[in-house]
C-alpha cells in the first residue's frame, strides 16, 4: 500500500475516467479449490461433468469470477487510494463463463460521482467494473458504489 501522503483521493477520480487493471491467470486448481469450499456444483468441480453442462467446460463459479474482478480492482486502484469498504452493488451480470486456464484482465470506469451530503469527508463514486479474457470477450460486468476519501487540505 502507498504511504498516506501519496494516496489517490476523490479528486483523482473524475467522471468518465477509465482505470485499466492488471491480469489474473485462473488455474484449473483454483477453480476447483474455490468450488469445493463455496460452490460445489459438478460443472465447477469436474471436467467431464462441465463438458456436459450448459457451460461447456470447466468454469469458475460466478461468485469466484466476481471476486477475481474485485481483486483486479483492489490492485488496480483501491489499495493506491483512500478507498473505503463499499456498501452495495447495483447489478452483477455473469455474461459468459470464465473457463479454467484463462487469463483475465479488467477495467473500472467512473460513471458518476458526488460528495456525501451527510459525510463531507467521503466521496461516492458510481463505478462500472468489467472483466475480460485476453480475446477481449466481456465475461462479468459489475455496477456499484465505491466510497472514496476526500482530501481536505
Amino acid at each position: 500500500m502507498a504511504s498516506m501522503t501519496d494516496l489517490l483521493h476523490y479528486k483523482d477520480f473524475p467522471e468518465g475516467m477509465v482505470i485499466p487493471f492488471g491480469t489474473y491467470h485462473l488455474s484449473r486448481e483454483e477453480v476447483i479449490e474455490y468450488a469445493r469450499e463455496w460452490d460445489p456444483q459438478p460443472m465447477h468441480l469436474d471436467e467431464e461433468a462441465a463438458k456436459r453442462s450448459v457451460l461447456g467446460g470447466l468454469a469458475a463459479s460466478g461468485w469466484q469470477s466476481s471476486a477475481i474482478l474485485i481483486r483486479l480492482a483492489v490492485d488496480g486502484y483501491a489499495n493506491k487510494s483512500a478507498a473505503m469498504a463499499s456498501n452495495s452493488m447495483e447489478e452483477v451480470k455473469w455474461l459468459k463463463p470464465v473457463y479454467a486456464g484463462e487469463t483475465l484482465t479488467g477495467r473500472g470506469t467512473v460513471l458518476s460521482r458526488r460528495i456525501s451530503s451527510k459525510r463531507p469527508e467521503m466521496g461516492i463514486l458510481k463505478m462500472k467494473f468489467e472483466l475480460f479474457n485476453m480475446e477481449g470477450e466481456l465475461k462479468v460486468e459489475i455496477t456499484g458504489v465505491q466510497f472514496m476519501g476526500v482530501r481536505h487540505p
Partner: protein
C-alpha cells in the same frame, strides 16, 4: 431450486439455507486472495478505518450464501432421489441486482441465510425454462440483517 420445477415453486415460499460461521482466520484468508484491503486484513488498520472493526469482504459474505444455497439444494435433491423421485436440476443464473452489505460481518459472527421467492415467469426465448426471482438475506447471531441481494435463476419447466 430445491429439486422443484417452475410450476411447483410458489411465490412467497421461504427456503431456510442454514448458517455459516466466520472466523478471523477465514476472513483474513479470503481477503488475502480476493479482496486484500487493509480493513479486511489487519485488525489495527481496521480499527482506525471508518468501520472501526475488522470485517469480512462482502464477497466472502456472498460466498457463504452460495455455499449454503448449494448445500440446501443438494440435500433436497438427495432426499427426493431417496424417495424415488428425480429432482429438477438447478439452472444457471445470469446475475443479480441490489447486492447490499448492510452491517459489517466481523470475526466470530454466524450468518444465517434465507431465500424468499418473489416472482417467476416463463421465458419466450427458451420454452423449456423459466426464471425464478428471489430476495436473499443474511442475518447475524443478533438477528440483524447484514446482507441481501435480489437473485434470479433459470429453472426448468415440467411440461
Amino acid at each position: 431450486m430445491i429439486g422443484l420445477y417452475l410450476e411447483e415453486i410458489d411465490v412467497d415460499r421461504v427456503v431456510e439455507l442454514g448458517s455459516h460461521h466466520f472466523t478471523k482466520e477465514a476472513i483474513i484468508a479470503f481477503a488475502e486472495k480476493y479482496d486484500p484491503q487493509p480493513f479486511h486484513l489487519d485488525e489495527e488498520a481496521a480499527r482506525k478505518g471508518p468501520l472501526g472493526v475488522l470485517s469480512a469482504s462482502g464477497w466472502h459474505t456472498a460466498s457463504g450464501w452460495m455455499k449454503r444455497y448449494v448445500a440446501t439444494n443438494q440435500a433436497a435433491e438427495a432426499k427426493m432421489r431417496a424417495e424415488g423421485r428425480e429432482p429438477a436440476p438447478l439452472g444457471p443464473s445470469p446475475g443479480f441486482t441490489n447486492l447490499r452489505w448492510i452491517k459489517p460481518v466481523t470475526p466470530g459472527d454466524t450468518i444465517t441465510y434465507r431465500s424468499t421467492v418473489t416472482g417467476k415467469r416463463e421465458l419466450n426465448s427458451r420454452p423449456q425454462w423459466g426464471l425464478i426471482f428471489s430476495l436473499n438475506e443474511g442475518f447475524n447471531q443478533n438477528g440483524e440483517l447484514v446482507f441481501s441481494f435480489e437473485g434470479k435463476v433459470l429453472t426448468p419447466k415440467r411440461s
